[in-house]
């Protein structure tokens, strides 16, 4: 890449102030410690023209303020040279503050403040303050509690209203009713100079509920943030070759059919293209699951997402970005994701049962006392007591607190969970389907062995191969480790020709070496010829991941069956299936075949899909729950519920184990809070629950639920830890 091209690239990301000051945000995904901060900041501060550089470790970003005469390319170079990968962030994406989190935290603090203050007064009243002073204390409590409930209760009121509007009830409906009823009856009680007002209960209820809600939101936000940092490593444009031979950076959305693009090794095709210039090797692993590189020559159609391997290639865009292979896959994926949207969380299902029950109980209490002749005041007070003690405080905490603890443990193991509901779905999984290329295998070719020829020809082949950076040649060179030859010539799309002791050797494809390709073998094959006579051939296979066998064995041990759904050829899929002990292996599947296969598997029970490719994305969306390794295509990672950020497959059995544990804890927690309700509901209906008892019961049940959830941190997975 030329420095000139770099500039055009970067200026798109520089924000200019009115006073000539400029600002650039770089993502530095590898920064994690104090030394990282110091290294980056000192390196940047030492540059002329840089006014200020500050690393934000939480977001893994650095913000650089610099003067107009400073070249932004030197900034990224400096960060790269100090040892940190970096890529610019679009100014439009920089200020993505989370307003929902802000609202929740503000509400949490306000409700905490209000509950502390109302509790001061309530304690005084419980200790025996009476008469006018009690009424005064209640009025002060009302002064604090009413605005607090109105302000901090907004997230619940909004959600309850939205649910009621479409004719459904969610957990927030009984919460909202209890909050309003409690505050209302307390004002009434204070007005009548009564003995029992529940301002402390209303604010404390809100405080506990907001803790659960905020934790849940923080967990999702962290996962989103980490996932979007990964996504931003993807190309957001390409180098466009103009008619006069110069190169300019063009954004992804501005690419139009007919434009000529120049792609370097390591670039992914931004849109669907046709090769127009010289030939080169292209990795299609993410696109169709084919493990071995494909030779692309002029006229070859390549889908978006294919990776350029050994040399720059020139392509002409054939479709706009909005209609590329990736975009079409994303559209199919949305259609396939119905399984997820149809799924309702266990907490919502519990509240479906719970909410009507509580409201009927409260109504029955009111009618019961009224009919018994207690007067509407006592009847109403007892009915509200029922609403308060049965308000699903513990119930609302029971599920999110377990999910938060689980997400923390998963994160420590390098697994990113996007959503708590995914954990619930994972616990039910009976079958795991794996993609092969890039998931069970590394997706990089490895020498399997010499397939014919007498004698060991590897040293000669390896020495010739050292001259090329074609992936197969590199695998061959790595296997033999011979020094590079002096007299070598690489012929694009064919192979390498070398002269050793006056003899002409050729290493490359069948045509180049004059061999007959019978199409056999399980992977790719490279031939070696001496003076036009074929002397040997070498086979390459896809390297199986080190932990793939252990992963499959552990899953079988957990009572889960496995299968392979691959787009690759029968031979290489068969070899991987045999080595890993997976009985059910399907090959040569197109993306829609994978979806059909997942649907078929779902007939027998919930299915988890593990895959990394663009061709897996639709299947990932169609499965009940899905995993993607960090190296997966963006579209696949976006579809997956779990991202294996440390790229270790053993995360799958660990997540399954944890999901089952978490499911057991959620059920325990729900049972605990139900049991608590069964005990206190008759007491409240009988009019025996004073504000003091309500406060104690409510907080103790919440604490029990939280402590029970924390047990998830203590247990280790039996037999799984050994294989770390």
């Amino acid at each position: 890449m030329t420095a000139e091209a770099d500039d055009g690239d970067l200026l798109e990301y520089v924000a200019s102030g009115s006073d000539g000051a400029r600002r650039l945000h770089l993502a530095v995904p590898d920064a994690y410690c104090a030394t990282c901060i110091q290294t980056i900041e000192e390196a940047l501060a030492g540059l002329p023209g840089v006014c200020n550089a500050r690393v934000n470790l939480q977001r893994r970003r650095v913000q650089i303020d610099f003067e107009a005469d400073c070249d932004p390319a030197t900034l990224t170079d400096t960060v790269t040279r100090s040892g940190y990968r970096n890529h610019p962030i679009d100014p439009a994406d920089v200020d993505d503050k989370d307003p929902a989190l802000r609202e929740l935290v503000s509400a949490l603090v306000v409700s905490g403040f209000a509950s502390a203050h109302t509790m001061f007064f309530s304690e005084a009243i419980w200790s025996g303050v009476e008469g006018d002073t009690r009424t005064l204390f209640y009025w002060i409590s009302a002064l604090v509690a009413i605005p607090a409930v109105a302000y901090a209760g907004r997230p619940f009121f909004r959600s309850a209203l939205a649910a009621l509007r479409v004719g459904r009830a969610n957990m927030d409906v009984p919460i909202a009713i209890a909050l309003i009823a409690t505050t209302g009856i307390s004002v009434l009680e204070t007005r009548l100079a009564g003995q029992h007002a529940y301002f402390d209960a209303a604010t404390m209820l809100l405080f506990f509920l907001l803790i659960g809600r905020t934790l849940d939101h923080v967990m999702r936000g962290q996962a989103r943030n980490a996932a979007s940092n990964l996504a931003r490593l993807a190309p957001r444009g390409a180098q466009r070759a103009l008619a006069d031979g110069s190169l300019v950076f063009i954004r992804l959305e501005d690419i139009a059919p007919g434009m000529t693009l120049l792609l370097k090794p390591g670039d992914r095709l931004p849109v669907d293209c046709e090769v127009s210039g010289a030939a080169g090797a292209v990795d299609m692993a993410l696109v169709n699951g084919e493990a071995m590189p494909v030779e692309a020559s002029a006229g070859t159609q390549l889908p978006a997402g294919a990776l350029v391997l050994d040399r720059p290639i020139e392509v002409v865009a054939t479709r706009p970005a909005g209609d590329s292979f990736i975009a079409r896959t994303a559209a199919l994926m949305e259609a396939a994701e119905q399984v997820r949207t149809r799924y309702r969380g266990i907490a919502d299902r519990a509240s479906d049962l719970y909410a009507p029950l509580v409201h009927i109980a409260a109504l029955a209490t009111f009618i019961g006392w009224w009919v018994a002749g207690a007067g509407w005041h006592t009847a109403l007070l007892n009915a509200v007591a029922v609403l308060i003690v049965t308000c699903p405080c513990a119930l609302a905490l029971a599920v999110p607190i377990v999910h938060v603890v689980a997400a923390g443990r998963l994160f420590a193991r390098g697994i990113l969970m996007k959503d708590g509901a995914a954990l619930e779905r994972l616990a039910t999984v009976r079958h795991v389907a794996f993609d092969k290329t890039g998931t069970l295998t590394t997706g990089r070719p490895r020498l399997v062995g010499q397939v014919f020829g007498t004698g060991d020809w590897l040293p000669a082949a390896s020495a010739i191969a050292a001259a090329s950076n074609h992936p197969l040649a590199m695998a061959l060179a790595a296997a033999g480790r011979e020094p590079m030859l002096a007299d070598c010539r690489e012929i694009a799309g064919a192979g390498v020709e070398a002269r050793i002791d006056g003899q002409v050797w050729r290493l490359g494809n069948a045509r180049f070496c004059g061999a007959q390709d019978d199409g056999g073998g399980e992977g790719s094959r490279v031939w070696l010829a001496r003076e036009g006579e074929v002397v040997a051939a070498f086979d390459f296979g896809d390297d199986i991941r080190g932990d793939a066998a252990a992963t499959v064995a552990q899953l079988h041990g957990q009572g889960v069956s496995t299968s392979i759904l691959s787009g690759d050829r029968a031979g290489s899929v068969g070899r991987v299936a045999r080595e890993l002990g997976i009985a059910d292996a399907a090959h040569s599947l197109a993306p829609q075949d994978k979806v059909a296969a997942v649907e078929a598997l779902r007939q027998k029970g919930p299915v988890a899909m593990v895959g990394d490719g663009i061709n897996d994305a639709v299947a990932l969306g169609a499965a009940d729950v899905s995993f993607a390794p960090a190296a997966a295509a963006d579209v696949g990672r976006a579809a997956a519920d779990f991202v294996l950020i440390n790229d270790r497959l053993l995360g799958v059995p660990f997540a399954l184990w944890l999901a089952r544990k978490a499911d057991a804890l959620v059920r325990q927690n729900l049972t605990l809070s139900m049991a608590y309700n069964i005990v206190v509901l008759p007491l409240a209906a009988a009019g025996m629950v004073t504000p003091l008892i309500a406060a104690v019961a409510m907080s103790s049940s919440s604490i029990i639920v939280v402590v029970n959830a924390l047990r998830l941190r203590l247990q280790g997975p039996p037999g799984l830890e050994v294989l770390k």
Partner: protein, 48 residues
């Protein structure tokens, strides 16, 4: 009774002050980089 008024008002005032302090911190971005702030303690002060 007058003592009570003083205590109630001062308790509420202190609480409100803390609340205002929190909102100030939230608005001025004190919580933007909690992890970084924790790590920066380990750095030397004589940074150029």
């Amino acid at each position: 009774m007058s003592g009570l008024i003083v205590l109630v008002v001062s308790a509420m005032g202190l609480g409100a002050l803390a609340l205002a302090g929190f909102f100030w911190a939230l608005r001025t971005g004190q919580y933007e980089d909690i992890e970084g702030a924790a790590q920066r303690i380990l750095l030397d002060d004589d940074m150029p």
